[in-house]
C-alpha cells in the first residue's frame, strides 16, 4: 500500500466517479455528502466498470410487506446487472455477491490521494 496522488480536489464531482489509471488498475473517486470514496473500477461478478453504475440508498425491510429506505447508506449499483455494493465497506448487498475493492482516501493541499 502506498499513497498515490489521484487528482486535484476540484476534479472530484459529487455523486459521479472520476477515473484515474494506475498501472493495470483503474480507480474511481467520488464525493458523497462531504466524504470521499475510492473504489476499483471492477465488478467482481462479470468484470464490469462498476464506477459507471448508480449511487443510491438501500431498500430495507422489517418483514414481508414492510418496505423502508435507508437514504444514509451509500450503495453503488453496477451498471451491468445492478448488483449492490456498499461504498463504505465494499460489501455486497446480499449473500453471494462478494465485494468491490475500496481504498482509503485523503485530501491534502487541494489534492486527492488514494492509498493503493
Amino acid at each position: 500500500m502506498a499513497w498515490q496522488l489521484f487528482s486535484p480536489l476540484d476534479a472530484i464531482v459529487e455523486g459521479k466517479f472520476t477515473l484515474v489509471t494506475f498501472g493495470k488498475r483503474t480507480i474511481g473517486v467520488t464525493r458523497l455528502r462531504g466524504a470521499l470514496h475510492a473504489v476499483l473500477n471492477y465488478c467482481p461478478h462479470a468484470g464490469a466498470p462498476v464506477c459507471a453504475g448508480h449511487i443510491q440508498g438501500y431498500v430495507t425491510s422489517t418483514g414481508p410487506g414492510q418496505i423502508g429506505y435507508d437514504a444514509e447508506r451509500k450503495i453503488l449499483r453496477c451498471p451491468w446487472h445492478h448488483w449492490e455494493f456498499d461504498l463504505e465497506t465494499g460489501e455486497g448487498g446480499c449473500a453471494g455477491t462478494g465485494r468491490i475493492k475500496t481504498y482509503p482516501t485523503r485530501e491534502t493541499d487541494g489534492a486527492v490521494w488514494v492509498d493503493i
Partner: protein, 350 residues
Amino acid sequence: MEHPLIDTDVHQNIPAEAWPQYLAEPYKSEVAAFGPRRFGYGVRFEDGGNRWDVKDPAGRSPDIHPDLMTMQLLDTYGTRYALLTGTKGSVAGIPDVDYAAALCRGFNDYTIDVWLRADPRYLMGIFIGLGDPALAVQEIERLAGHPQVKFVCFYGATTIPFGQRFYWPIYEACARHGLPIHLHPATTALSANPATSAAGTASTYLEAHIGVSQNYQGHLVSLVLEGVFEKFPTLKFAFVEGGFAWVPHVLWRMDKEFKGLRHQAPWLKRLPSEYVRQHIRFATQPMEEPTRPSQILPFFEILDAENLLIYASDYPHFDFDPPEILPRGLSDTARRKILHDNAAEFFGLR
C-alpha cells in the same frame, strides 16, 4: 436392500352415492336430485386416469375400496404410511366458494369415516377451497389435531400465485398446527386456470400435464420472493407430481436475479434457493426419464435430491411409479432418505 416406504401421493375417492350423506343442506338435496355439479375439464383424461389393471374381478376399484387399496398398494410394497391426496383437485375450479367448502367438508368427513378407520397407515390431508381463505381456515381448525390428519391439500390451479397475501390466513393456520401443505396438480381444472401452460391454454391433457412444472415454477417463485417463509418460518410445502429436473434452473435463476433486484424482495435475509432447501420438498413421481437412464444421476447431485426428494407412487393412476423407479447408481443412504426418511421428517411421522 429393502427400505421402509412412505408414499406421499395415493388417490382415494368417494363413490357418487355417498355424497348426499356427507353434504350439508342445501347441497345435500341438490346433489341427491341432480348429482354433483359437473365441471368441464375440457380435456380428455386417460380413461378416467387409473391404471387398467387395478379393478378386481368384481369390478371394484381401489380408489373407493380401502381394502383393495390396502392389498394392492400398502401390503404389496410394504408401505409404512400412505398419504391420501384425494381426487377432488377440481374443487380448485369451483367458483361458488360455499359449495366448494361444503364439498371439501363432505369429502374430508368421508375420508375420515371410511379410509382412516380402515387402516392406521392411511394419513390424510385436509381438503380446502382456495377461493375463500376464511372458510379454508375454518376447515383446518375443525380437523387439525386428528392423529391421522397430517397435511393440508393445495391444488396447482389458481389465478393467484401462492406467495400472495390472499393466502396468508391459511398459512398462519397451517404453521400454527404444524401442518405442511401438499401441492398437487389440478391444472386441468380449466375454469381455475387463466392458462394451463405459460404459453396459453393447452389443448390436451398430454400438454397440460407436461406443463405442470410451469405452473409449479410460478408458485415456487411467488412463495419464496413474496416472503412467505420469512413471515411463516415453520411453514412447509411439498410439490407433488410436477417433476424436479426443472428445480435447479429456477433456483439458479432466482439467486442470480435476486442479486441485482434484491430491492424488489427486500424482506429476504438469505438467497432464495436457501428458502427452498429449508421449506420445500419435491415428489419423485412422475420420475424424469432421460434418453439414457444414467443421465438422471447428475440431476440428483445438482438438486441435492438425497435431501429434497420424497417418494410418491400416484396410485392407482396410470402414471404410477413403483419404488423401484429410483435410478440405479443411487447410494443406499440416498435411496432410504428418498423412500422414507425425508417424508418422515417433513410430515412429522414417527
